[in-house]
């Protein structure tokens, strides 16, 4: 893999945007400004960016309850995202979805999803549509280690394997489903092992290493586009924050969290780029500052946006 300087900066900035978005959302939530459930993605940025940065406009993404990072990586508009988190009329879903249902059909983003594991068959279906229409599109489905125990996982992988669908199943194994550690919820350490049950490739990578994710995704996407069928890709990672905002994380210890922070996905890319002479620490600071301004603008947009009109309650249920 060789990347141009521009490309590296683009990937890096995408990760920084996700982190900044999430940490800002955490603050706003703590201040009581965001209603409902918020599941944050901090610590898992390399997965979203490593995969999504390689997609084409005609491709699809099915996301999860922890979905902000996926949409940011797809080029989603952070202002519309914040407006949705705030329940505003200007939000991605006019305030009807919130964090758990953000979608952008124009980006092929089939939505975050409040139902764990629901995205797998949806993504397989979008991949089916690509194949049916012969448009060279692929679909990517993100899901957690917890979701890999759901029936949808089995049915979607099986059907995708027999239909040779252009779909990449990306398991974000952050080692927990809420409080349930992986060793308590499944008798395997690599979710990727399950691929063999469907006769498809399964690969497990360091999900905190952008380039490892990138390389694995590159091959999975190539396979999908060339009609070779689905891949199960597992990215081992860790969420820094609680399962949702407000979670006291009694099920894990501080040392574990700190040990993962030493493997921070953004720091690792930064170090490498400084070593490679792609940018200086100063330029790094400038990127964070620039992103912060964009994110802050998004928050301001959201805060200054109108709330939905009550009359909108009954709109958008049916299509004409």
């Amino acid at each position: 893999m060789s990347f141009s300087k521009e490309r590296l900066l683009e990937l890096y900035k995408s990760m920084v945007t996700i982190r900044t978005f999430e940490e800002t959302a955490a603050e706003l939530f703590a201040n009581g400004e965001i209603p409902g459930f918020v599941h944050l993605y901090s610590g898992e940025e390399a997965t979203a960016v490593g995969v999504i940065s390689q997609l084409e406009p005609q491709d699809y993404i099915a996301s999860t309850h922890r979905g902000h990072g996926h949409l940011v990586a797809r080029g989603g508009d952070v202002a519309l995202m914040f407006a949705e988190l705030f329940g505003r009329q200007t939000g991605y879903c006019k305030g009807k979805g919130g964090s758990m249902h953000i979608a952008d059909m124009s980006l092929g983003f089939l939505g975050a999803n409040g139902i764990v594991g629901a995205g797998l068959p949806l993504a397989a279906g979008a991949a089916f549509a690509c194949k049916y229409q012969n448009n060279n599109g692929v679909a990517v489905c993100f899901f957690g280690d917890g979701a890999s125990n759901r029936a949808t996982f089995h049915e979607a992988l099986n059907i995708a394997s027999i239909w040779k669908l252009p779909v990449i199943f990306v398991c974000e194994n952050n080692m927990y489903g809420i409080s349930m550690s992986q060793e308590r919820h499944q008798n395997i350490t690599d979710v990727a092992d399950r691929a063999s049950a469907y006769g498809i490739p399964g690969i497990s990578v360091d999900g905190n290493e952008l380039f490892a994710v990138y390389e694995a995704a590159e091959e999975a996407i190539r396979r999908a586009r060339q009609g070779e069928g689905p891949t199960l890709m597992e990215c081992k990672t860790y969420r820094y924050r609680g399962h949702f905002e407000g979670d006291a994380t009694v099920y894990r210890c501080e040392e574990e969290l700190q040990s993962w922070k030493l493997k921070d996905p953004i720091n690792r890319v930064k170090k490498r780029m400084i070593e490679m002479g792609v940018f200086s620490e100063e330029e790094n600071q400038a990127i964070w500052a620039e992103v912060k301004t964009i994110v802050q603008k998004g928050v301001d947009f959201a805060k200054n946006s109108p709330l939905p009109d009550e009359a909108e309650l009954v709109e958008d249920v049916y299509c004409d």
């Binding site: 059909m105 089939l110 629901a118 797998l120 068959p121 279906g125 549509a129 049915e155 059907i159 299509c319």
Partner: protein
Amino acid sequence: MPEMTYSEAINAALREEMQRDPKVYILGEDVGIFGGCFGVTKGLFEEFGPGRVIDTPISETAIIGTSVGAAAAGLRPVPEIMFMDFMAVCLDEVFNQAAKMRYMFGGRAKIPMTVRTVCGAGFGAAAQHSQSLEAWFTHIPGLKVVMPSTPADAKGLLISAIRDNNPVMFIEHKVLYGTSGPVPEGEYTIPLGKADIKREGKDVTIVATSMMVHKALAAAETLAAEGIEVEIVDPRTILPLDKDTILQSVAKTGKLVIVEEAVKFGGFGGEIAAIVTEEAFDLLDAPIKRIGAPFVPVPFSPVLENAYIPSAGSIVNTVKSLG
């Protein structure tokens, strides 16, 4: 008009829509080479090939889940769930995904999917292959629910369902598959949300769905011989419901009997009764009566199954009890 069976009419609708629109495809368990468990999709595999008439593994969740994803991505899937009872296996995909995506996404998605499935007792198929579960679906905003009672309705309504941009539950009745009736020649559609008066009368309104329309028609013959003229309203689509036609009929007769094959408690008939009570209490000359199945699973033995299914006799007695 040529005669066709209910099953042939559905088959014709599928064929015509697949010929008209390349985005329409069907999928389900044994719908291809085998022609469907009830033979409804016979010949389609031969005509359209394995790319558009797709045999699936026994994976109801994936059948509906992939259909929702494909519909969101621009296709018009027509999945079949072999028995309505099996919908329990894929309800998330219907309730939480298909039905809600449009609303959750602020009106920025459409899911043009028609789920064909089969309800009804009368086959000795017992508790897990005979239920009428339509009320589950009418409780979910975002869905449409269709229950045709005749071949002509089945064809016209299925074409409308496939062309509709919303997820539609198209509920066929297994006992009706072999029944025949006139079906108009050429292309025609029946709008979703429009009831049909299956028999006119001035004395009592009977609202009946699916197989119960035929039970009501049989009861009407008996009652006519005794001088009671019933009017039979077949909603055809129970979501959206054509309230106006029901209320107009009640305005004429002043009496209402609702007949459904589903378990009466919690059934859709209760909704119709509530609507008429709330909106037209003054029109009523007698209490509304509901006829439905008892609060038990569908039994196997023909004797018990017969006792379970609402009968023409019980409709006759109920109508007469109104005086």
